[in-house]
C-alpha cells in the first residue's frame, strides 16, 4: 500500500465515523456520550487523510505503509455494506441469566397511583434484591424485545457496560400472553409476581401481564 492509498483508507474511516456520529446509527454500538469524542476523532481523521489523497510525493524511497493497514478496510466495508443492527434476541438468548447484585442496595418507593415506567434492569434488581418489596402492588410498564427459552418467553433489553461488545441481557419472564415472534419490540404493562423465596433470589423475575403492545425499535435500543 502506498501513501496515497493509506490516506484513502484513513479518509474512508473518518467518513464512516463522521456518518455514525452525526446520525443515530452510533446508538447501536456505543453509549450516547461517546458521540462527541467520535465526532472529534472523525474530523481529525479526515484532516489527516484528505490532504494525503492529493499530495503525491515524488521521492517515496522509504514509503512503506504497514501491510496490516489493509485490515482497516474491514470495518469500513462492514458499516457500508452490512450496517450491523443493534444486538437483539440472538445475543439475549445466549446470555439469558439473572443480573448481578446492584452496587446500591437502597430502593426508592414507587408511586402507587400511576403506571411506573421503569427499565427492565431496575425491575430485575428490585425484584431480586429489594427486601422492602417496592414492586409489590405496583403497575409497571416495561419496553423491550421478546426472547424465548425452554421455560417460556421474556421481555429483554441488552445493557452495555462500555460498548455493545460487552453487552449483557436484562430480562423479565412474561406470564399471561402468547409469545410474540423472537426479537419483536413490545411495550407491556403488568405486575410483579412474588415468588415467596428468600433474598437474594437467583431466578429470573416474573411479571403477570395486563396489556401488551407491539412497537418499533426505540431510538436508543440499549438500556
Amino acid at each position: 500500500m502506498n501513501r496515497q492509498a493509506a490516506s484513502c483508507v484513513v479518509t474512508l474511516i473518518g467518513a464512516a465515523m463522521l456518518r455514525l456520529s452525526i446520525t443515530d446509527e452510533h446508538l447501536s454500538y456505543i453509549k450516547p456520550w461517546m458521540q462527541y469524542p467520535l465526532l472529534v476523532s472523525a474530523i481529525v481523521l479526515l484532516l489527516l487523510g484528505l490532504p494525503g489523497l492529493f499530495l503525491v510525493k515524488e521521492d517515496d524511497e522509504h514509503d512503506h505503509q504497514p501491510t496490516v493497514a489493509w485490515a482497516m478496510l474491514v470495518p469500513v466495508l462492514a458499516l457500508l455494506v452490512i450496517a450491523p443492527p443493534s444486538l437483539g434476541s440472538y445475543a439475549a438468548a445466549r446470555t439469558l441469566r439473572p443480573a448481578p447484585p446492584p452496587a446500591e442496595s437502597t430502593f426508592s418507593k414507587l408511586p402507587s397511583a400511576d403506571i411506573n415506567k421503569i427499565k427492565i434492569g431496575e425491575f430485575v434488581v428490585r425484584a431480586n434484591y429489594d427486601t422492602g418489596k417496592s414492586l409489590e402492588d405496583r403497575q409497571i410498564e416495561l419496553t423491550g424485545f421478546a426472547v424465548k427459552d425452554s421455560k417460556g418467553w421474556y421481555i429483554a433489553r441488552m445493557s452495555m457496560a462500555c460498548c455493545a461488545a460487552d453487552a449483557f441481557t436484562q430480562a423479565v419472564r412474561m406470564d399471561g400472553a402468547e409469545a410474540p415472534k423472537d426479537g419483536q419490540w413490545v411495550r407491556v404493562v403488568g405486575t410483579w409476581v412474588d415468588s415467596d423465596k428468600e433474598y437474594p433470589r437467583e431466578d429470573m423475575p416474573t411479571m403477570a401481564l395486563e396489556s401488551i403492545e407491539q412497537i418499533n425499535e426505540p431510538r436508543q435500543p440499549y438500556e
Binding site: 456505543i30 476523532s41 485490515a71 460498548c163 453487552a167
Partner: protein, 349 residues
C-alpha cells in the same frame, strides 16, 4: 560495551515493525503493487457498494449479524482513543527531541529503572513506536535496563491507556489502579532482572539507523507518523476485535462457561489471546471488557500481558535488538506479566 557516540538523528516512526521485521521486497515489484494500491482500495470499496444488496442479503444470519455488531462496536468505541493516542505519540516523535528523556535519568542504574518506568507513565507512546524508540535510546548510551523498562512502561500505562481503561470498566477504579500497578511492576522487574542477569552480547543492535528527518518539514513528519501509526495499530485492532467478537458469538456457551468458571483456565485463555491477538494498548481495554463472564483477574492479565509482550512485539524486538535478545526477553516478560497480573488481581480485585 563500548558505545560510539555519534549524533544520531531524531527517532523516526518510519522504523516501526514492518521495516524492521521484514526485508524490503524488490523495488520493481513493490513499486508496481504500491502504485496500484490506491486503485485496489477504490475498486474494493466500489465493488462492495455496487454489490451491496447481494452481499447483505446473504449475510443475514442472526449469528453473523451479532458477530458483526460486536466487531463494529469495538472498532467504533476504540477509534477515538486510538486517534488521540497516535496524535500524541506522533507529536512526540516529531517535535520532542529524544535526548529529553536522557536528561531525566539518574546516573545510578538501579535507580534509573523506576525513573524510566515513571517516564513511561507520563509519556503516551504506542507499543509499536516504543520498540524502535528504546532501541535508539540504547544506541544513544542509555543503560539498557532503563531503556527496556521504558519500552514496557510507555505503552502499558500512559494517560490515554488509563482513561480508556476507566471508560471500558465504568465505576471500577480498582481495574485502572490494578492495571497501573501490575504493568509498572512488570516494567521495573524486567529492568532489574536485566541489570542482574542481562548480558550486553545478547543485544545485537545497530542493524539499522533511523532515517534523518531533521531536514524535512516537521509537519509532514508528524502527518506521516500519525497516519502510519494509526493504520498499523488499527490494523492489529481489527484482527483483535474480530477474534474477540467471534469468541463472544460463535464459541459455544458451555465452553466459554467452562473456561470462565475455572480461574486458572480463564487467566491462561486470556493471556494466550493477548499474546496472539496483539491489540494496541490504547484499545485493548474495550476488548478485555467484552469477555463477559471472565473474572476480573483474567481481564487484568489480558491488559497487562498484551502491551508488554505479544507476537507482534516479539518479532519487532527480534528485529531491533536481535533474536538472541528476543528469545530470552519475550518469554520472561510473558511469565512476569502473567504473575504480576495474577498477584495484583488477587490482592486488589
Amino acid at each position: 560495551m563500548v558505545l560510539i557516540r555519534v549524533r544520531l538523528p531524531r527517532v523516526s516512526v518510519e522504523t516501526t515493525s514492518d521495516e524492521v521485521a521484514q526485508e524490503k521486497p524488490p523495488a520493481d515489484k513493490a513499486g508496481w503493487a504500491s502504485g496500484a494500491s490506491l486503485w485496489i482500495v477504490v475498486g474494493i470499496v466500489g465493488a462492495c457498494l455496487l454489490l451491496r444488496g447481494q452481499i447483505s442479503g446473504r449475510l443475514d444470519s442472526p449469528a453473523f449479524l451479532d458477530f458483526a455488531t460486536r466487531f463494529v462496536s469495538v472498532m467504533v468505541q476504540a477509534t477515538p482513543f486510538l486517534v488521540f493516542g497516535v496524535l500524541i505519540s506522533a507529536a512526540i516523535s516529531a517535535f520532542v527531541p529524544a535526548s529529553a528523556l536522557q536528561r531525566l535519568l539518574p546516573e545510578n542504574k538501579a535507580l534509573a529503572v523506576p525513573v524510566a518506568g515513571a517516564a513511561g507513565v507520563i509519556l503516551p507512546g504506542c507499543e509499536c513506536a516504543s520498540v524502535p524508540i528504546s532501541g535508539s535510546l540504547i544506541r544513544r548510551g542509555i543503560a539498557p535496563a532503563a531503556a527496556l523498562t521504558f519500552l514496557l512502561a510507555a505503552p502499558a500505562i500512559n494517560p490515554v491507556v488509563l482513561v480508556s481503561t476507566a471508560v471500558a470498566f465504568p465505576n471500577r477504579p480498582d481495574m485502572v489502579i490494578g492495571r497501573l500497578v501490575a504493568s509498572f511492576a512488570v516494567a521495573v522487574i524486567m529492568g532489574w532482572l536485566w541489570l542482574r542477569f542481562g548480558k550486553a552480547e545478547w543485544l545485537t543492535m545497530g542493524r539499522r539507523t533511523p532515517h534523518d528527518h531533521d531536514g524535512e518539514n516537521k509537519v509532514a513528519t508528524f502527518r506521516d507518523a500519525m497516519q502510519h501509526d494509526f493504520l498499523h495499530a488499527g490494523g492489529f485492532l481489527v484482527i483483535g476485535a474480530a477474534i474477540a467478537a467471534a469468541f463472544s458469538t460463535f464459541v459455544p456457551k458451555d465452553i466459554v462457561d467452562t473456561l470462565a468458571d475455572n480461574w486458572i483456565l480463564a487467566v491462561l485463555a486470556l493471556v494466550l489471546l493477548a499474546f496472539l491477538v496483539a491489540i494496541c494498548s490504547e484499545a485493548d481495554a474495550f476488548v478485555a471488557a467484552s469477555f463477559v463472564g471472565f473474572s476480573d483477574t483474567a481481564k487484568l492479565a489480558f491488559m497487562v500481558v498484551g502491551p508488554a509482550v505479544d507476537v507482534k512485539l516479539a518479532s519487532m524486538q527480534a528485529g531491533v535488538f536481535g533474536s538472541k535478545f528476543a528469545m530470552r526477553f519475550a518469554p520472561v516478560t510473558l511469565v512476569v506479566a502473567t504473575l504480576s497480573a495474577v498477584i495484583v488481581g488477587w490482592v486488589l480485585l
